[in-house]
Amino acid sequence: MITTIGIDIGSGAVKTVLFRQDGDKVEWLAKRVERIRQRSPMELARWTYDEVLEEVKLRPEDIQYTATTGEGENVTFATGHFYSMTTHARGGVYLCPEAKAVVDVGALNGRAIFIDERGKVLASKMTSQCASGSGQFLENIARYLGVAIEEIGPLSQTSKDPEKPSSICAVLAETDVINMVSRGIATPDILKGIHLSMASRLAKLLKVTGIKTGTVLLTGGLALDTGLLAALQEELVNEKITGIQAVSHPDSICAGAIGAALWGAFRHEKLRQLEQRAAA
């Protein structure tokens, strides 16, 4: 039996999960998702770690592997660190076993990851440094429009005549949005236009990875944005990738942390086997 913790430090939130694995039986025992809100991500990592341990009444010495991902390289109490792409791939397969690809949309980047059934990355493509494919950009726009984050998706889906920003550059797009507001464009149409703009970039990333059919799971901080999910499905059709079904999962935001915990268990077992082989 292996008990592991995965900690995903993102730009907007810290996600921590605790898993127990016994052979093929995998149990997800605890989770914490904490928005950073100008607090120290490192302190939040420690706090959420303590919280998940407390929830299942375990002590740090009961944990065989604590794996970090995202910006968690400097977490001092971690056993090891996995890169975000690796963990989102594994977390994606856990949440949606039929997934052929994962689209991770976080606060700063968007990334399409083509995977196999084990969660091994076969190909990937990430947005460039431009922020307009990111959650932070959407959050900024929502703030300008006076819309709460949880309202973005439902509002976007009521749009009748979406207005796309003319540029993919976040700075220019923000200026565009200000102009749209002054022109009297309805908020749902602005939000849907932005969703379509972001989704168009994500669809292009997916196309580059080579996936043509199957299920694509949305993960990361924007995974539960129903407006973005609907826009992605539309843009996949526009990109003539008609065999793909984009889906989300209620725990998509934890995909990175889940992947880290599961890879931690995998790695723990591998190290144990290596030690046994070396001893023999």
């Binding site: 109490f77 971690a78 090891g80 890169y83 690796t86 440094q129 591998k270 290596l274």
Partner: protein, 390 residues
């Protein structure tokens, strides 16, 4: 009281960042008449400079803290950065404390730089230090002894007294000690890379470019002792050998990024001058003959050195992987570095045959954007940890 790691590393970092070479100026000022001789990577027989009573000073470019303005006027845009930044150091007077410069045989660019130096700094001693491409004692050895003898005579004239055999033997002994200490440091890091991270080891090595070897040997020993006392957590990282950085050095941030991404660097080719000769040079007998034999038969293998036999290509790299228990190789070479980049496919071929995983990227000494490197090194580390057969 024993020095702490942070004190030692702090001192090394200050020496590393000082592009005005105050440590050299202080060494010269301590005894009037002292002279300092600069040298570029990869290898020069520093024993001869030391035996002449001079301080050998490693000039490894301007790093990422110096803006190159004048240096750019001398080279095309498709040339690496180290000759430009070295020229910038010279043209801005930062190397005025040096009484001469040695340009070892690395590539055409550095050979041309030696010519530029002769034209630009007429009052300084300048020499292009050639090395043999034939490893017979009677051919390459004779040639190399002659090269070293010219250097010895020149430095003797500059010092105002000949460089004696006894002085050379004593210097060989000093550098043997230094080499042993550096080898011990590398062995210690390979054994406990979490205790001696490469970002620190690199600074300790770079300190040896401006300190007298006797002082550097003590510094290295002090660092090993201090690192052992630290309580640093061991991480589940991938053990990698980093190769291709023998001339223009990567920025410190790049080394830190590689480590942060989940790699323990267990061998590298930074500051290779200190480990160029692989073992002790006998401090008895004919000193130049012994230095020559060490170069011909017991020296490092890397792109700027001619490989006599095709089957020997990559032999030392594979040995390093096995000896230090590495799980993969990162090829990190400067952009436009002909020797490293032309050698790379041949070495990759050797590694592929040995089923040793590798990844490759390029950098410049002033590379500032680390995210792509972190991504590449991070995914490489993950692939080793999760998917390698070992």
């Amino acid at each position: 009281m024993a020095e702490m790691v942070k004190d030692i590393v702090g001192r090394c970092e200050a020496l590393f960042e000082d592009l005005h070479f105050d440590a050299v100026k202080q060494w010269k000022a301590a005894v009037p008449g002292r002279k300092a001789i600069g040298y570029m990577p990869v290898y020069v027989p520093r024993e001869i400079v030391h035996a002449a009573g001079m301080l050998p000073v490693g000039i490894f470019g301007g790093g990422d803290q110096m803006e190159v303005i004048q240096g750019d006027a001398y080279y095309q845009s498709y040339i690496c950065r180290i000759p430009r930044s070295t020229l910038e150091l010279g043209l801005t007077g930062r190397l005025d404390c040096l009484d001469g410069m040695l340009f070892p045989s690395i590539c055409d660019v550095i050979r041309n730089l030696s010519g530029m130096w002769q034209i630009l700094f007429k009052d300084k001693y300048v020499r292009y230090v050639d090395v043999p491409q034939n490893y017979l004692d009677s051919v390459g050895g004779e040639f190399y002894i002659h090269e070293m003898q010219v250097l010895r005579d020149d430095l003797g004239k500059l010092a105002g007294k000949p460089v004696t055999d006894d002085a050379l033997r004593a210097s060989i002994a000093v550098y043997n000690e230094n080499r042993r200490a550096v080898q011990d440091l590398y062995a210690y890091r390979a054994q406990k890379p979490w205790q001696a991270p490469t970002s620190e080891v690199y600074l300790v090595i770079r300190a040896g470019m401006v300190l007298p070897p006797e002082e550097h040997t003590k510094l290295v020993r002090d660092y090993i002792a201090a690192a052992e006392l630290e309580n640093r957590p061991k991480r589940d990282n991938a053990r990698v050998v980093l190769t291709g950085s023998f001339c223009e050095q990567p920025p410190l941030g790049l080394i830190k990024s590689i480590e942060m991404s989940g790699c323990y660097v267990v061998d590298d080719d930074f500051g290779l001058v200190m480990r160029w000769l692989l073992d002790e040079v006998p401090a008895t007998g004919d000193p130049l003959l012994e230095l020559s034999k060490a170069f011909l038969h017991r020296s490092n293998q890397q792109a700027s050195k001619y490989d006599e036999k095709k089957e020997d290509k990559g032999k030392l790299l594979v040995h390093s992987v096995k000896f230090y228990g590495a799980e993969g190789v990162i090829f990190a070479a400067p952009s436009f570095c002909d020797p490293a980049l032309l050698e790379r496919p041949m070495l990759q071929d050797v590694l592929a045959k040995q089923k040793i995983p590798y990844t490759a990227f390029k950098y410049a000494e002033n590379t500032g954007q680390m995210a792509p490197i972190r991504e590449q090194a991070g995914t490489f580390a993950d692939s080793i940890k999760l998917w390698s057969a070992a």
